[in-house]
């Protein structure tokens, strides 16, 4: 069973979802929670089996799909994907457990389980086609969730979400096909295996074009400025569970793919585009933070804050050193936990008042003290307070990029200022002051079901903020191998300079001395 | 003066163009069928010519099958025409607009 654990992890939710069609409506929720919990414990078992000392891929499985074109069902994980998978199973579990939706619950749970399959699939795929299939499949459940359970503008939002991301991924597909063709030209064999592709050294001009093609697909998913406008609509219209999964997991696909595809495949291009992308990331950070500050709807604040934080992740990724990339991956997980929790929290108040406008609230701290406390913790985590999960990632990302550019990091660092501005302002509007609205005077504090979802998130937020080692170490190990691979593949002198060499400590020392 | 493959192909092309003009010009369905026959025959000449000049029977085979297809097309097509005519009393192309998009 151990050698097939990844396949089980991928397809178990899907099989369960099909079974879910015949489960009775009233027991659908129990069924969903059970399945998601089993899946979550499977993923924990995966972590238990994972060997943190190895930097390469583990639990690899291979089965030919289209042998003539070298398309295989090839899955495997390393430290980078392991924790995002756990995050995905975890959020599906608590998402289903804390579901407050009453309309067509069974359909929703089946959809979520399918979504879980695609998420786990994306993060464990090592074959470009398999990756692409899961990548696109993930759109459909999300489209359905937004379109069926969303707000008044749901059709517009879901269509926009689908078409926008789909367009980007089509360009990515072209890039993949060309990559495979190039591999065929170079070796005489067709292969879509990422691990085989890693061995290719492409000429710079090919790298640039391919990088651009992949970039478009990933950047829309992240979403990077100026491709971000689908996100506020999607979040604004999606039901709570949709926003949670979208923010916590689906957005991470983009940044994960940067690490998995763009960096090791095109190291020279990554260096070439480093500063343009860093500029975009900085615009994302500052500009969307300002937009978040101007919002009137608390959910939009959280949505835009997501974009802003994703900017830091992108920046860390393109630091191209172990500190930066490890930090960005850690921040992916951190941001997943924190923004997921924030969306859950927004959902709590939305369930009670059916409005998300901040002007409708005020003084909630006295009416809902527990809610205010948890919101406060999560807000502070989002702002990046030390000893919360976000700080570790943000610090490492910025630290990493500082190596590449001082000025950029200084500007990007305003993230910690502007982030505080919009978050504190929103918090003040929601929770401080006196209760002015009559409806708010008798709001119920968070109930047990909601606490069931929120308490674990709070625990994780603090635990991983204080002791990030259990997950930072495997991440760092895997990142080291990627950075080393990039350094070995780098051709341009610029890239060789920018990407550190880890394998040769003497070189490193001499480099340090020259600084 | 020798007659080459090109001559036949040009002839085939010219006949095909005549057929095309007919297809576009005719509104009477029966006449449209005529034009279709011309198109088919034009290609037949081309196939036969290529078969001849390249010393290969495949071309003739194609032509042969085309004739078979043409025959069945006429049979089915005329049947359909009769149905249509019984319903509407006309076989004018312009009144067939049920495919409006």
């Amino acid at each position: 069973m151990q050698e097939h654990i990844l396949s089980i992890l991928i397809f178990f939710p899907a099989l369960a979802a099909m079974l879910g069609f015949i489960v009775h409506k009233d027991s659908a929720r129990a069924f969903g929670v059970t399945v998601a919990a089993i899946e979550f414990f499977l993923s924990l078992w995966l972590w238990h089996l994972y060997d943190p000392m190895t930097s390469g891929m583990q639990f690899m499985e291979k089965a030919p799909l289209v042998a003539a074109f070298g398309i295989n069902y090839l899955v495997g994980i390393d430290g980078i994907s392991l924790f995002i998978i756990i995050l995905a199973t975890f959020f599906t579990m608590i998402g289903i457990a804390s579901l407050t939706e009453t309309r067509r619950v069974k359909d929703l749970i089946v959809t979520l389980l399918f979504l879980e399959m695609t998420m786990v699939g994306v993060f464990s795929a090592l074959d470009a086609i398999v990756f692409y299939v899961f990548w696109e499949l993930s759109l459909i459940p999300m489209l359905y969730i937004i379109g069926a359970w969303g707000g008044p503008l749901r059709i517009y939002a879901s269509v926009k979400f689908f078409l926008y991301t789909f367009t980007g991924s089509l360009v990515m597909l072209v890039g993949m096909l060309f990559m495979a063709y190039f591999y065929f030209q170079a070796t005489g064999q067709w292969s879509f295996s990422l691990l085989e592709w890693y061995r290719l050294i492409l000429p710079l001009n090919f790298q640039l074009w391919l990088f651009a093609a992949f970039f478009l697909g990933f950047a829309i998913k992240v979403p990077m400025f100026p491709f971000h406008t689908w996100l506020p609509y999607a979040h604004g219209q999606a039901p709570t569970i949709g926003s949670v999964i979208l923010a916590a997991i689906l957005l991470k696909m983009g940044t994960y793919a940067f690490v998995r595809f763009s960096l090791p495949l095109f190291p020279d291009a990554a260096v070439y585009f480093m500063f343009p992308i860093a500029s975009l990331a900085i615009i994302m950070i500052v500009y969307t933070a300002m937009v978040a500050y101007a919002q009137e709807d608390i959910k939009q604040v959280v949505a835009y804050s997501s974009v802003s934080h994703m900017g830091v992740i992108v920046l860390g990724t393109f630091a191209l050193n172990v500190e930066g990339i490890s930090g960005s991956i850690f921040l992916m997980i951190a941001h997943g936990v924190v923004s997921g929790a924030l969306f859950l929290l927004v959902g709590v108040v939305y369930d009670r008042r059916h409005t998300k406008l901040m002007s409708e609230f005020g003084g909630l701290a006295s009416v809902m003290p527990r809610y205010a406390t948890i919101f406060g913790i999560m807000m502070m985590a989002s702002v990046g307070l030390p000893l919360t999960i976000n700080f570790v990632g943000e610090f490492l990302s910025l630290l990493g990029f500082y190596k590449q550019s001082h000025g950029f990091t200084l500007v990007a660092g305003t993230a910690i200022i502007v982030g505080a501005i919009y978050m504190l302002t929103a918090y003040k509007k929601m929770f401080f002051g006196t209760v002015t609205k009559e409806e708010n005077k008798y709001l119920k504090d968070v109930n047990k079901t909601e606490l069931l979802a929120l308490i674990p998130l709070v625990v994780i937020t603090v635990w991983l903020g204080v002791y990030p080692k259990p997950i930072l170490e495997p991440i760092s190990k895997s990142v080291e191998s990627i950075v080393q691979l990039m350094h070995d593949k780098a051709q341009t002198p610029e890239a060789q300079k920018r990407i550190p060499n880890l394998g040769n400590p003497e070189v490193k020392n001499s480099q340090q001395e020259t600084h | 003066m020798e007659i080459t493959l090109a001559h036949y192909l040009v002839l085939s092309g010219v006949l095909f163009a005549i057929g095309l003009i007919g297809v576009m010009r005719r509104k009477n369905l029966l006449m449209l069928f005529f034009a279709t026959e011309i198109l088919l025959n034009a290609t037949n000449i081309g196939f036969a010519a290529i078969a001849h000049f390249h010393n290969d029977l495949t071309g003739q085979m194609f032509a042969f099958f085309i004739i078979a297809i043409a025959a069945s097309e006429v049979a089915v097509g005329l049947g359909l025409l009769i149905v249509w005519y019984k319903r509407t009393g006309k076989i004018d192309l312009d009144i067939m607009t049920s495919m409006r998009g």
Binding site: - | L11, G19, L30, N44, H54, D56, M61, V74
Partner: protein, 195 residues
Amino acid sequence: MFEAIAFYLFAALTIGMFTITVMTSQALYALTAMAAGMIFISAFFFMLGADFLGVVQIIVYTGAVMALYAFGMMFFDTTRTLVEKRNNPRIIFILGVMAAALIVFILVSPIISTHLEARYPIEAAFGNSQAIGMILFTKFLVPFELSAVMLLVAMIAGIVLAGKKMDKSLTLMAEEEIALMSATQAPKDTEEGAH
């Protein structure tokens, strides 16, 4: 020389006949011209050494197809002058000529014609009909049988379509009409059975 004269003669005749077919407003002229054109085309087949094809051409087209069309014409009563609405005849003409020119260019240009190679060479030892028979029942056996089935189907289709009760089309009727029809028909059938 003889070949050239024959080619140009028949080419001129065919083009002329087909032009009449396409352009005339008299259905009868069109039919006649086309029948003539078909026969002239068979001449090319003979010139190209495809004797069997030539014979088939005359039999099928001039014999069977033309007879069908003639029958159709009589049925539709199109012996009168055809009244057809024309719009933009110039565009039609330009498009036709352009298509022809392009096809000719593609076929004649060396790029394609020099790349062709014989796969089933004509054996000089056999006559044309014999050779065709050989190849038709070996290499092209499956397509041949398929086309036979197709012809059978077409024949049945022709009979059924033109048949008696087909003045009512199920596909072109609205749902209610069909329901109405089946409702009225059902008792009638039982009545007939009772008689």
